[in-house]
């Protein structure tokens, strides 16, 4: 029973990271009907920005972990939010009326360009970087069950970010505008909503959340590398799809579901744990066949 708790905590940690990535995919699809494949690599850029900020803060003599952490989060968020808005403004909006496939390909290529740029131009970028442990590392022991303070903080932060996003979308004027644009661009414009601004803000928001996931990933594993966004992006995208692309709650559900599948694949199934990703992705395929519009379909799914 103790160990079951451990699996649940591990799964929650992974699920939170996946959900944060999936939320970005679903936001972008919601407002613009685009799939932005560079999302995972934007996450990686966020993690590297945070890593650089932490190192910079340390170099400036800010030795207190809390200050370094603040620098990490602020710079990672601001940097990726800006990057997200720039991508939307100069890559995605100009291609808005082009075939969907073009946007998909363009962002896929952009992701590769970002990844390779970090590898080539970041100092010693092809090697994994040891992300500093900025959170307290003490742990509570309950029999076999170990609960680390840092993991707990990360999971709670992730959940708070998701709740905050939910409130932002449903309780604020900005959220109302985002929902309006998502539902009907033309009507939103006639109601006096600044369409371009809302699209840019949405992309900045989604990318900023990816940066949170990237920094969380770095703090949890104490390691980042230039290729980390590739699999995370793919998993986040799958999570958004099985949840129902365009639906925020679907993305969150999808993220946790995918983490649960990986856990089950690694521990509960009789065959070797090396196949856990094979298992998880196979289940995703099955789910897609069963519910093509996702577990919680987008409300205005008639546009399919």
């Amino acid at each position: 029973m103790d160990l079951f708790g451990q699996y649940v905590i591990n799964g929650l940690m992974l699920g939170t990271i996946y959900a944060l990535v999936a939320v970005g995919f679903t936001l972008f699809f919601g407002v613009l009907d685009v799939i932005k494949f560079s999302h995972g690599d934007v996450l990686m850029v966020g993690a590297f920005t945070g890593f650089t900020a932490a190192a910079g803060a340390a170099a400036l003599g800010l030795s207190h972990p809390a200050l370094q952490l603040a620098a990490t989060v602020v710079f990672a968020l601001a940097g990726t939010a800006l990057l997200g808005a720039v991508i939307a403004k100069w890559l995605i909006l100009p291609l808005k009326n082009a075939p969907r496939l073009n946007i998909l390909l363009a962002t896929l290529m952009l992701g590769t360009a970002l990844r390779e740029s970090v590898r080539l131009f970041y100092p010693d970028g092809s090697n994994p970087k040891a992300f500093p442990a900025l959170l307290p590392t003490s742990a509570w022991q309950f029999g076999q069950f170990t609960l680390r303070v840092d993991s707990t903080i990360l999971v709670v932060t992730g959940i708070l970010v998701i709740v905050g996003l939910h409130l932002l979308i449903n309780r604020t004027r900005l959220g109302l505008a985002i929902r309006a644009v998502a539902q009907d661009e033309e009507t939103a414009r006639t109601m006096g909503i600044n369409y371009t601004l809302i699209v840019l803000v949405t992309f900045a928001l989604g990318s900023g959340i990816a940066a949170v996931a990237g920094v969380m990933d770095g703090l949890y594993y104490n390691e980042i590398n230039f290729g980390m966004g590739l699999l995370l992006g793919l998993i986040g995208f799958s999570a958004a799809i099985i949840g129902g692309l365009g639906n925020l709650y679907g993305a969150i559900l999808g993220g946790f579901l995918f983490a649960a599948l990986q856990m089950i694949g690694a521990v509960a199934l009789p065959f070797a744990s090396a196949y856990k990703d094979v298992f998880a992705f196979a289940v995703v395929i099955a789910l897609m066949a069963w519910k093509p519009t996702g577990l919680i379909p987008e409300r205005a799914s008639d546009r399919v």
Binding site: S126, A130, L231, M263, A272, K276
Partner: protein, 391 residues
């Protein structure tokens, strides 16, 4: 006037071209030697250390007035990935100026490139990869290896661990040929010596999260967590063991014996990690002091790391062969087949029928105060410090 000028320039050019072969003949012919290893990625510090050591061997040879040729190191990055390895191996083998190769640290890469070397008749000497099949899995005369294989390594490891009272293991290994090989040989020897493997997990070589596998391992309460794989995964697994509060001895293989393993970990977590490697440590090698002295003088930006001495020995042997029989791939291969008791900085080298150096010597290491220390010289062996006790 213009036409005269043009004519005179043309005449000068013609004269210069005619003179070129003459001046070239008085200098030595240039012969290229390929070096292939991981120059980027998680095992880059070993690869760069190897490349520097091979470069050092080339510089020393070029400085020797008696050498017949001028050597050039053609260094390529295999990124520790089989597909990239095959590309760069083909690039090296297709270059006719390249007469021999000093190749590969990663076993999975070495396994996929031996066919290329055979097809192009390019003689190579492996400087770090330890999977037995690289030399024993084929009949290619072109492939040789100066370092030992993982068979001996795991036999010694199993013997050492069981003698220290450890009884139960959980094995994690990457699913490349390298990791699978370690799992096979270690499981075999440790079971023979009375140990028990409670569970085995294969993990992919770019896996980030091991909490599921390790939580299951925790449930089984093993004395030892054995990891068969390379440094980047080794770091992650050791780190996540701590996150889950697993109280077991961590035992690695030659793949984690590198400075990068220690740098990537909190000193507290690295302390007391065990690993085994074929060959003696550089300082204890017959020519070790000479090698380290020369390496220092060359002022590289990084140390030779764990396998530099082997790369140096391999490059030196390749150049010896070319000096003897000339820059001809087939002749070099034939020459290398007869190497017996040849002195080198890693001790005497004898190649058997498969091109494998038969001198099997295994060194036991433990990390003490942020350094890989010879077990015999450590405070652990002296009883001053303790490994994680068997349950």
């Amino acid at each position: 006037m213009k036409s005269i000028l043009r004519f005179s320039v043309g005449a000068m050019l013609a004269a210069a071209l005619a003179a070129a072969p003459l001046s070239g003949a008085s200098a030595k012919d240039t012969v290229k030697i390929a070096f292939i290893g991981p120059l980027s990625g998680g095992t880059a510090s070993i690869g760069v250390g190897g490349r520097n050591s091979a470069e050092l061997a080339v510089r020393i040879r070029n400085a020797d007035p008696k050498s017949k040729y001028h050597y050039e190191l053609f260094a390529q990055d295999d990124e520790c990935k089989p597909n990239v390895g095959v590309q760069v191996a083909t690039k090296a083998a297709a270059d006719r100026k390249v007469i021999g190769g000093v190749t590969h640290y990663c076993s999975a890469v070495a396994m996929s490139t031996v066919d290329v070397y055979h097809k192009f008749n390019l003689p190579v000497i492996v400087w770090g990869a330890v999977l037995p099949d690289i030399t024993y899995g084929n009949d290619y005369k072109e492939v040789h290896r100066v370092n030992g294989t993982m068979v001996n390594q795991n036999e010694v490891a199993a013997d050492f661990m069981t003698k220290h009272g450890y009884k139960t293991w959980v094995i994690l290994h990457d699913t490349t040929d390298y990791g699978k090989g370690h799992n096979t040989y270690f499981s075999k020897y440790v079971t023979e010596k009375g140990g028990k493997v409670l569970a085995t997990f294969g993990v992919t070589s770019d896996q980030q999260d091991f909490t599921a596998e390790l939580t299951k391992a925790k449930e089984l309460k093993p004395d030892v967590i054995y990891f068969g794989g390379l440094t980047p995964l080794g770091i992650r697994i050791r780190q996540q063991m701590d996150k889950l509060g697993i109280d077991a001895q961590f035992e690695g293989v030659s793949g984690i014996v590198s400075d990068a393993f220690i740098e990537g970990l909190d000193p507290k977590l690295a302390e007391g990690v065990l690993a085994f490697r074929e060959g003696a440590p550089v300082e204890k090698l017959p020519g070790g002091q000479y090698f380290l002295g020369e390496y220092d003088k060359a002022k590289f930006d990084q140390g030779p790391d764990a396998y530099g001495a082997f790369a140096f020995a391999a490059a030196t042997m390749m150049m010896d062969a070319i000096e003897k029989v000339g820059p001809d791939r087939k002749k070099v291969t034939a020459y290398l087949a007869d190497i017996k008791d040849r002195d080198s900085i890693v001790g005497p080298i004898t190649f058997d029928d498969h091109g494998q150096n038969t001198v099997a010597m295994i060194t036991k290491y433990v990390i003490q105060d942020g350094k890989w220390v010879l077990w015999e010289d450590s405070e652990y062996a002296a009883g001053k410090r303790k490994l994680v006790a068997p349950k």
